[in-house]
């Protein structure tokens, strides 16, 4: 998703400079705010695709800021950054109205992938539930639980189906391993070993086997992406 407008609300100037530089290099526009009140004022003016909010901020803490924005009817997606990475902190963050939660320290690729998903959610299909996805010649029907490629049915296990469903919903976007663990398995811990990779490669064996053009691509140092065409 090109040209997003992002607002980074973070009191650590070095971190926020690093983020806005990285966002600009990726072709996006990024504003920054150093404290909760400034951030709140900027966010209320609107026009942002995603807000990146640190949890601990001077003047107005991150969670209160999000709560106030939601009370004021500002529905801009919020990604919470926090040094507190525990399960209950995540729950608190999401309860306050955040849309995603990323514990510090994080990989920039992870942050970028999540922001793109949030921005896409805002921009696109928030209305009627989509019942099927299509990427190139790959089709997934959510109602009949059928997956076909070039008209040929691919039998999948339920978990494999959900994995492919998530990848296809975010076709063209990078999906990280932790995002997959969160949305397909609903766990938020660090799986340590390459469990997700093995699942993806199994799925890939079923989906891409026998076809010239792979659908499931590995994005080095970040995760996976479903996209039609391309050689990788």
């Amino acid at each position: 998703m090109p040209d997003m407008r992002l607002l980074i609300i973070e009191d650590d100037r070095e971190a926020s400079a690093y983020l806005s530089k990285a966002f600009r290099e990726a072709g996006h526009v990024a504003d920054t705010a150093d404290d909760g009140l400034d951030g709140y004022a900027l966010a209320r003016e609107g026009g942002y695709d995603v807000l990146v909010v640190d949890r601990m901020l001077p003047k107005l803490d991150g969670l209160s800021l999000i709560r106030s924005l939601r009370e004021q009817g500002v529905e801009t997606p919020v990604l919470i950054l926090s040094a507190l990475g525990q399960v209950d902190d995540r729950v608190k963050g999401l309860k306050a109205g955040g849309d995603d939660y990323l514990p510090k320290p994080y990989a920039f690729s992870e942050l970028m992938a999540r922001i793109e998903v949030l921005a896409r959610r805002r921009g696109g299909s928030s209305g009627a539930e989509v019942t099927s996805y299509r990427v190139g010649d790959l089709e997934l029907d959510r109602l009949s639980h059928r997956v076909t490629r070039a008209g040929q049915e691919i039998p999948l296990q339920p978990r494999e189906f959900r994995l492919l469903e998530y990848l296809m919903r975010h076709a063209g976007q990078v999906v990280t391993r932790t995002m997959l663990l969160e949305h397909v398995w609903d766990y938020h811990f660090d799986p340590q070993t390459n469990v997700i990779d093995v699942h993806v490669s199994r799925l890939r064996a079923k989906v891409d086997k026998g076809f010239d053009r792979p659908m499931i691509h590995t994005v080095r140092g970040a995760g996976y992406m479903v996209r039609a065409g391309g050689e990788t």
Binding site: V87, P103, V195
Partner: protein, 489 residues
Amino acid sequence: MSAPTLASAPAGQDGVLARLGALCRTTAFKLSLAYLLVFAAFAFFALGYVAWNARRVLDDQIVSTIEAEINGLSDQYASGGIRRLVGVVERRSREPGASLYLVTTPAGEHVVGNVEALPPGVLNEPGQTETAYGRGTDGDRLDHRAIVRIFTLPGGFRLLVGRDVEERDRLRAVIGRAFGWSLMLVVGLGFLGSWFIAQRVLKRVDHMTEITRGIMAGDLDGRLTLAGTGDELDRLASNLNAMLDRIGELMRGMREVSDNIAHDLKTPLTRLRNKADAALRAGSDPDSLRAALEANIEESDNLIRVFNALLMIARLEAGNAREGLAEFDAGAVAREVAELYEAVAEERGVGLRTEVEDGLVLHGSRELIGQAMANLIDNALKYGALKCGSDARDAGGGASVVCVTARREDGSVVLSVADRGEGIPEAERGRVLERFVRLETARSRPGFGLGLSLVNAVARLHQGSFSLDDNAPGLRATLRLPALRGPSA
């Protein structure tokens, strides 16, 4: 130069005053003082009561004596008239230790008797009164006191009969003196007693204070001395000593952990630094620099992982992750996590078998139990398949098995992961739960030695237990957690 010497004298005095103040502020002193007050008040009331009663008894005696005499004398008057009365009074007045008598004319003139003087008007009030009077030997001076009764005879003559109250007053004086002395004694002794007790207590408390101050200053091995009397101060001191022992134990534990942390974090940090250093010196080939940077990021990620795990364990052990716990099905978690690892297991040629009962409801954190199961299964796949894995490959695969079971057992939900690997020697089973402990056989494989510590902490957070047992052969890791409901749920 004289100023300091002058100043030193009041300072010394201040010291004494401060000491006195400290003494007076002690609980022992205040308590003794309160007791003293109570006792003094008690003594006051007791003695007062005795004195008052004694006086009343004496007064009663006097009054009844007078009554008897008057009755006797009026009998004499009735039988022999005024003449006889005068005769009897005259005789009785002269007897040693006699009562007081006076007979007057209706006009109040002295007829006979041993009372020479009375305050004016006394004779005009019939009945009993207490009055001053003068004795025959002393003339008109009214320097004695008596209780008298005045009786008007039928002919208008007046008869006064009385008893001197000097004896009674003397007794009163004696009691009063005793009163004063005993009060003084009570107060004096009580004051001295409380002083002594306060001094004794203060000395011991001062001693305790001195030692605790030393401990605060860094002498962590210092302990309070016991007087051996088994009193409350001794009990306090021995409790404080026990507390200090416990704190010392915890401190040693902490130091061990932080030493471990320092060591185990320093190693990868050094590696990180060396890699960066080596890459810098190797030259400016962009590809190798890029590779070095990527390796550095990977190493940093590992460090972050270790940090996160350590923080999580610390938090779980502090017990403040208790909020946000909810009901969930532990069986489902076991199944899901096993399924998550199934693909990896298959890739390594290990069979992952799951046996899960239904309705294993727990109150706790689904995430943490999931993570614990993930750690256990990950371990089983990593180490449990060490030997069997290669055997299995030789034999054509499938011989190595990891068993994940979830079942109910006496009100507990028992989650276990069993493998057929080398297991852990019995002596090492307790040790591997500690942070950063890795067995020799595991040293060569990736890992930080935190997985089982985390599982143990998760078990404790859920008020359950975690144990490692022999699976003959292999290892059986068991989480035993209190179940929420009966099998009907």
